[in-house]
Structures are given as structure tokens and as C-alpha cells.
């Protein structure tokens, strides 16, 4: 089994290389970055890997005590906040059976209906102590249901048995999987149509990708933020659980003159819906809160679909917002 020190060294090397790539490479295309972010997993409460990647992409960004990735643009006293949530619905291992099968518990927080049904008969990724472990969620064999009065569809999270190829509890442990190991559907984002991207939480990840690129442009073009102002760019955790990430930014970095929350939502793919958000009542330090939601078809499903061309419009608008345009 690799020693923790070796793993830590691997992480340092990986981040260093990631940083070098991000510094040396040409600016990534929004479509590519959105696809890459959509391929990543950030189960509520277990978002740190994505945060590490975002920090690597944003020179000067840091992780705060809540685990958010935070970057400050400009140095003025009047502060504005633009934030994008990173979390997604997911599961953790709830128990390991003697015969090597795993049972699940849903990660807490508000999730779209029937999210657990999405697991049935699909591949999942588990993020164990020793690395990524592949698995599948068991499903009845259709041949064995015929003529037997077996209800064909009765799947809930309580009937989710995860098969990682283990035959014993010891096999599971040796793979670095244990109670609380997070897991989610294996992701393979699908590009289709003229400019569409389908994946779990595709719209949210695409919105975050647009914010990453807007922030990188602001870093590259110093002076973009109006004199006397600063813009805090935050990628926040646990938005559907308690909003702990956004609240921590408000308390640590606020008060803000205004807050823009960038996210995904149901709607025409690539369209941007704008509206006020009630978060300001919960945390007054956010100031007035506006929400921009990048529209998605099939919202909340594994093929949530947004338009990458539409996301280019969001990227342009984010640049203007950071630059202080109304």
C-alpha cells in the first residue's frame, strides 16, 4: 500500500505540473474546460479535489477554512462577490458487507427527485484512500425476472449494492474503500448536437468554467476591476446542504456591496435567466444577491444538457460584471 508521504508527494507533483500546464499553455477554450469540469466529481462535503484543481487554475487563489476556492481581484475598499457552487448530489459507502458488496447512504442536502434511481445498473466511481476505484451498482438480470412475479422496478438507495469486484470485506479494505468513501456515477461527458454538453450538473460546471476563464482574463488584464473596488471570486462548497461555503465567504470577506451567484438551472440550453435571490436575507453581508442561471435541458439528470455557445455569452457577461459594467 502506498505510504501517505508518497501519496502526498504525488499530489505535490501533480499540482506542480498542473500549475505549470496552466501557466504555460494557451488559454483553455471554454468548451474544453467546461467538459473537463463536468467530468469531475464533487459530492456535497467532498468537494476538495475540485477545489484543488480550481486553485491550480487560478494564480493567487487560496482555499479558505470552509474549503472554498477564493481569489481576490483588485484592492479597493468597495467589495463585490461573484460565486459559483461546486457541489453535486452523491453518495457515500454506508456499510461494507462480509461478501464484499457495499451499501450506500445518500449525501445530505437538497437534490433533484429520483436522483438515487439514476444509479441502478450503472458504473460508479469511488474515491478511496488508495485512489479511484471502479464499481457498478447491481441490477436485476432481466432474464431472471421473467415469469416469476418479481417487480421489475423497485430500486431505492436501500437496494443499491455496489460491486467493485471484491469477494470479501478484506478485498474492499485492501482497495482503500471503507465506510464514508464518496462515490458518484462514473462520468463521461457527452458532446452532441452543434454545441451541446451533457453530463451530471453540466450547467453548474459550465457556469463555473466560465467564471474561471473570466477570472483568468481579469488576472491577465490588470486594471479590469474599477479603481476603488475589489471583486472576490469564490467557488463554494455545500450549497445544497447548508450554504456553508457561501456563508463563510460572506463572514470572512464581507460585507459586500453586491453578490452575483452564477449557477445552472432548468431552461433553454445556454440561455441565462436572471433574478434576485433570497440568500441576502439569510446572510446580509452578501448585500443584494442576483442569480444568473445558465439554462439546461434535462436538468438534474445524468444528461443535463447546456449549450457551450450560450456559455460563451455568460463568459462575456461575467467579464463585463467584473469590470463594473451594470
Amino acid at each position: 500500500m502506498p505510504k501517505p508521504a508518497a501519496l502526498a508527494l504525488s499530489l505535490v507533483v501533480a499540482i506542480a505540473i498542473a500549475g505549470r500546464l496552466s501557466a504555460q499553455s494557451a488559454e483553455p477554450a471554454l468548451s474544453d474546460l467546461a467538459t473537463r469540469l463536468a467530468a469531475m466529481t464533487a459530492v456535497t462535503g467532498y468537494e476538495q479535489s475540485v477545489m484543488d484543481s480550481l486553485v491550480a487554475l487560478l494564480p493567487g487563489a487560496v482555499r479558505d477554512r470552509a474549503g472554498n476556492a477564493v481569489l481576490v481581484l483588485g484592492g479597493g475598499a468597495r467589495r463585490r462577490l461573484v460565486a459559483c457552487p461546486v457541489s453535486e448530489p452523491g453518495f457515500v459507502v454506508g456499510n461494507v458487507r462480509d461478501d464484499g458488496w457495499l451499501t450506500l447512504r445518500r449525501a445530505p442536502g437538497r437534490v433533484p427527485p429520483a436522483v438515487e434511481r439514476q444509479l441502478e445498473g450503472q458504473r460508479v466511481d469511488l474515491f478511496g484512500r488508495r485512489g479511484l476505484v471502479r464499481g457498478v451498482v447491481a441490477v436485476r438480470s432481466i432474464h431472471l425476472t421473467r415469469g416469476r412475479g418479481v417487480p421489475a422496478r423497485s430500486f431505492t438507495v436501500d437496494s443499491a449494492y455496489v460491486d467493485i469486484g471484491a469477494a470479501t470485506r478484506a478485498d474492499v479494505s485492501a482497495a482503500g474503500v471503507e465506510v464514508l468513501t464518496p462515490l458518484a456515477l462514473a462520468k463521461d461527458p457527452q458532446r452532441y448536437g452543434p454545441d451541446l454538453l451533457a453530463a451530471p450538473v453540466a450547467a453548474r460546471r459550465t457556469a463555473c468554467a466560465a467564471l474561471v476563464l473570466a477570472a483568468r482574463r481579469a488576472i491577465a488584464e490588470q486594471g479590469m476591476v474599477p479603481r476603488g473596488e475589489s471583486v472576490v471570486v469564490a467557488f463554494v462548497v455545500e450549497q445544497e446542504l447548508s450554504g456553508r461555503g457561501l456563508a463563510t465567504v460572506a463572514h470572512m470577506r464581507g460585507p459586500f456591496a453586491e453578490t452575483l451567484l452564477v449557477d445552472g438551472g432548468p431552461g433553454e440550453p445556454g440561455g441565462i435567466s436572471r433574478g434576485a435571490d433570497s440568500l441576502a436575507r439569510r446572510w446580509p453581508a452578501l448585500g443584494p444577491v442576483t442569480r444568473w442561471a445558465l439554462g439546461a435541458r434535462y436538468f438534474g439528470t445524468p444528461v443535463e444538457t447546456t449549450s457551450l455557445a450560450g456559455a460563451e455569452g455568460l463568459l462575456a457577461e461575467l467579464g463585463r460584471w467584473i469590470g463594473g459594467e451594470p
Binding site: S10, R130, R140, I142, V303
Partner: protein, 374 residues
């Protein structure tokens, strides 16, 4: 979160973001394949990753041809079955594995550009709804998605054929047709061969790419010059929609075969979700004599001979009964004994079937033994 978990997540995601650079460092689990299992994977993986819904098996057939030894001279009949005849003289023994996989067939194109598609083969449609899709036009595979179920729509009649809607993202019938998509084309979901822990693997269409792989592996190890009789390997078409390819083979051979071995899935109850009244064949304990299913019963004397052969060759062999039909039963009207041999499969006809590679290796050995020594 534990430090280890966090490290794992971090490394995995950074690898994802930067083109998979760290994947080799972060993958846990599968034991390095032994030479025997590696040989299985080299044949099985490309077969699993070929697409071939019933009636459009050409890509799979081409993969089989590519994987066969250079000396193999194959023929394709008018139904699309691929034949490889070895040795000469009687008795003639036939081994049949099917090329096709379950999927969907396009039945219509709507004004909004989406497709109606009906299941080809037995499947639970909800395992595909809300998933990525590929539309196979015969010339290329066009990415799309299976639309999620419409929760406001009335449920279909219980006896209706499973139907799905496929969205190629075009927005109009004309734009869909401009892509070359037509009724009759097939639809699947993207698939990959993926190793799990130990010697386990997951993928879609192991049924019956494992059987197809076993025939290829057996052919690689057989010496045709030393066969004292005729052995015919057939990779058949359209099994999932009614054993149609095998029926053509049986009709062509008539009374000639002494016996037929369907090399096909043994759907196993080796899962916590299944009743264990029958079909209990654990993964990893070897191939299975599929002695009784919904289409055929192996004559007891033939079953005894198969078991004796396995013992003589010291090959693992389970004996069991499961549900489903097999290609060998198409020969029954000619009085040809059907002696099907399978391997245990979990989660049959789902997007995430699971096998044990040791069973595949054992199956190939069993095919070879049955061809050479019986």
C-alpha cells in the same frame, strides 16, 4: 474527510482536468493480469468496444475477423453469420456464439428532430433513459442522448414494446435527416471495457462478446491439422431478436452436425438482488454447463460426457440451470443435441454487466477441449 480520501479525490480530479496524467498513479484495485488473463483481455476488450445491435453486426464481425489467426479462412453467409471450418471428416461439431447485442432501433423522427426507438432484445428501458447515446447509421456513430422519462406522460401499456426517445440535439426533423439518420438505424449507449478489482471486469454486451472471444481464443490454440473431424465455429447474428442467424446455420447444415454447443451467457443469480432458487453459479468458479434453460435441455448422457471431459482435462466446470434461450436450440428440429456452455454473468442486459476473466479463460479451454477431445 480523511487525508487519504482527500488525496485520492485530488489526484483523480487533477488527472481528469489535465488529460488523465495521474490516472496510473491513482488507480487502485485490479491485479496485474497474468499472461492467461491478459490474452483474454486482448481479445475481449476490442469485442466489447465494438457496436452491433441485432441486424447491424458488421463492426463486431470485422473485429472477430481481425482477431482470428492469420491461417483462418472465414466465410460470411447471406444472413451475416461468420463461419470458420476446421478439420475434416465426421463427426461434425458446431460451436455458436452470437455477435449481436441488445439496443434500440429507430422507428421514426419527430418534428423536433428527436427519434422514437424501440428495444431490440430484452431490456429494462429505464436503464438507458437519461443516458448518453450513439446513433449508428451504418457509416458512423452520431452522439446523442436518451431523453429522460417524461414524468407527466401516462405510463405505457404493460404489454407494449419498450420505447425510448433519442435526442441528437438538432432541433428539427430536417436537421436530423441531414445527419443521415433514418428509421431502421440502431441506437446504443457508449460503452467501455473496465477492469474491477482482482480478475473482475465490467462492460456492456459481455452477452455474447465473451462467447465470441472464447471461440477466437480457442481457434488461436487449436491446431487444425491435428483435428480428426470437422469443427465449425459460427459467430451468429440476430440472436437477441429470435435466434434468426442460428436458424439459418441450422437449416444450412441440416442433419449433418453430431452436436452443437451454444457458447453463451449463463445468467447468474450471484447477486444480493436475486432469488437463489436456481441459476446460482458464482463468478470465478469456471464456465457453466447450461443444462436446462427456456429453449433446450441437454441430454443427460451428453451432460455427463461434458462433465467427464472437464474432469479429465482438470478444467473447472459448474453445472446449472438458468433462464433464456440459446442458439443451439435452433438445431433441435434436426435432432441435433444441444450442449450449451456458458459462463456466469451478473446484471445481464444492463449497461454494467460483470464477469470474472478466469471464467472466460476457462470457457475458451472448455471449447478447445470439446473440439479436440470429445
Amino acid at each position: 474527510m480523511s487525508g487519504g480520501t482527500r488525496l485520492a479525490l485530488a489526484l483523480a480530479s487533477i488527472a481528469q482536468m489535465f488529460g488523465g496524467f495521474a490516472v496510473a498513479q491513482t488507480r487502485s484495485g485490479p491485479a496485474p493480469a497474468s499472461g492467461r488473463l491478459q490474452a483474454v483481455e486482448e481479445v475481449l476488450a476490442p469485442l466489447v468496444e465494438s457496436y452491433g445491435v441485432s441486424g447491424m453486426e458488421a463492426p463486431v464481425r470485422e473485429t472477430v475477423q481481425r482477431l482470428l489467426p492469420r491461417w483462418a479462412r472465414t466465410e460470411t453467409d447471406t444472413a451475416g453469420n461468420l463461419w470458420l471450418t476446421l478439420g475434416q471428416g465426421e463427426p461434425t461439431v458446431v460451436f455458436v456464439a452470437h455477435l449481436d447485442e441488445i439496443g434500440f432501433t429507430v422507428t421514426g423522427i419527430r418534428e423536433d428532430g428527436t427519434l422514437d426507438a424501440v428495444a431490440a432484445g430484452g431490456l429494462f428501458p429505464w436503464l438507458w433513459e437519461g443516458r448518453p447515446a450513439l446513433i449508428h447509421t451504418g457509416g458512423r456513430s452520431i452522439p446523442a442522448v436518451f431523453a429522460p422519462p417524461d414524468s407527466a406522460a401516462p405510463p405505457p401499456p404493460a404489454d407494449a414494446d419498450p420505447m425510448v426517445r433519442v435526442d441528437p440535439g438538432t432541433g428539427s426533423r430536417a436537421a436530423t435527416e441531414a445527419l443521415g439518420i433514418r428509421p431502421g438505424h440502431t441506437v446504443t449507449s457508449p460503452k467501455r471495457y473496465v477492469r474491477l478489482l482482482g480478475s473482475r471486469a465490467t462492460g456492456r454486451s459481455f452477452d455474447d462478446r465473451v462467447g465470441s472471444a472464447a471461440l477466437v481464443l480457442a481457434a488461436r490454440r487449436l491446431d487444425p491439422a491435428r483435428l480428426g473431424h470437422t469443427v465449425i465455429f459460427v459467430w451468429s447474428v440476430r440472436e437477441e431478436i429470435g435466434l434468426e442467424g442460428a436458424q439459418a446455420v441450422a437449416a444450412a447444415l441440416g442433419l449433418r452436425p453430431a452436436r452443437v454447443h451454444a457458447i453463451d451467457t449463463f445468467v447468474s443469480a450471484d447477486s444480493p438482488l436475486e432469488r437463489r432458487n436456481f441459476a446460482v453459479a458464482p463468478l470465478g468458479r469456471g464456465p457453466v454447463a447450461r443444462a436446462l434453460d427456456n429453449s433446450a435441455v441437454t441430454p443427460p448422457a451428453y451432460l455427463d460426457s461434458l462433465v467427464a471431459l472437464a474432469r479429465h482435462r482438470r478444467l473447472p466446470l459448474q453445472v446449472g440451470t438458468t433462464n433464456g434461450g440459446n442458439d443451439g436450440s435452433a438445431f433441435s428440429e434436426w435432432g441435433v443435441p444441444d450442449v450449451p456452455i456458458g459462463w456466469p454473468l451478473r446484471y445481464s442486459h444492463s449497461p454494467a454487466e460483470v464477469i470474472d476473466l478466469r471464467d472466460v479463460a476457462g470457457l475458451a479451454e472448455m471449447v478447445r477441449a470439446s473440439a479436440e477431445g470429445w
